[in-house]
Amino acid sequence: MMKFEPISYEVVTVGEEFFSDDFLIKPEDLETFAFAVDDHDPWYFEDSAFGGPIVHPVMMGNQALMMRHSRYIIPAGLHAKMHFEFVSPMRVGMRVRSYGKVIDKYEKRGRHYMVTEFQTREEGTQKVLTQGHFTQMLFSKSGVHEHAKNR
C-alpha cells in the first residue's frame, strides 16, 4: 500500500522515479481537451496526414505532470517550465502511461524547484510517443505563493 506524504524540497530526491496510472485514450477525452483549449482541428476528429484522426500532441502532458501525485500530497504548486518532444502520434484507443525521474532540484531566489524528465509510452509496445522534461515550483511551508501577492 502506498504511503503518501506532503511534498517539500527536503523530501524530494534527485534520482527518484515515478510513473502514472495507465490511461486509455477515449473519443470523449479528445472532445474534452478540444473544448478546454478551444481547438477543434479536424485532424483530431476526422482525418489527418497520418491516416485517421490523431490526438492533440500535448494532450497527455497532464499525465506526466501529475506523476508526483502518485507519491506525494501536493497542496499547491506552480509549473515553471515545460519541454516537449513529439516522437510519434498518439491515437484514440491507445493505452498510455508516463514514466519520470527527478533529474534536479534547486533553489533560486528563495524558491524551490524540482526538474523531472519524462516519457509517455504506449503500454504493451513501450513505444515512446512524447518525451521531455519539466520544472515545477514547490510552495513554501505556508503554502502561499510569492507570485500571488500582487494578483
Binding site: 483549449v37 481547438d39 496526414a49 500535448v58 517550465k81 515545460m82 513529439f86
Partner: protein
Amino acid sequence: MPKIDDSIVPGLRLPALKKTITQRNIDYYSGVRPHSIHTDPEWAKAKGFAAPLAQALMSTAYVSQMMTTWLGQGFVVGGKISASFIKPVLSGETLTAQAVVKAVEQIDGRCYVSVECWCENSQGEKTMVGSASGFSDHIRQPVLSS
C-alpha cells in the same frame, strides 16, 4: 524529395491566436477537484490568488495549435516546444499566442524551422515565453508574409 519553402524566413510572423480562458475551460482541462488552485476558488484565494489559475500547460496547447496548423505532420512527429511560464494566468483572462520564425536549418536533408513564441495577456504582459520547432517539408497551411 522534400520541398523547401523559400517563403519561410526569419522574421516571418505566424497568425496570432486569441484565447479567452473561462473557468469552464480550466475545469475541463484540469478536472474539477477540491483543494485545487485551478478549480477551487476558495482554495486559490487561500493560496494568495484573486481567482483560480489557468494551468500553465494550456499555453503550450495554443502553441501546439499554431504549429500543427502550420507545419502539420512535421510538427506532430519531430516537433518540439520549450516554454517558461513567467506570470500566472487567472480565470477569465484573455491570452494572445504569437510566434515569429527565428531560424531555418537543414537536418538530415530536411528543412527544420524554429520559432520564438510567447503568450501575453490583455495588458500586454508576457505570461509564457519559449520556442517551438518542427520540419517544414509538409506545410499544411502556408503563412503569408505581411
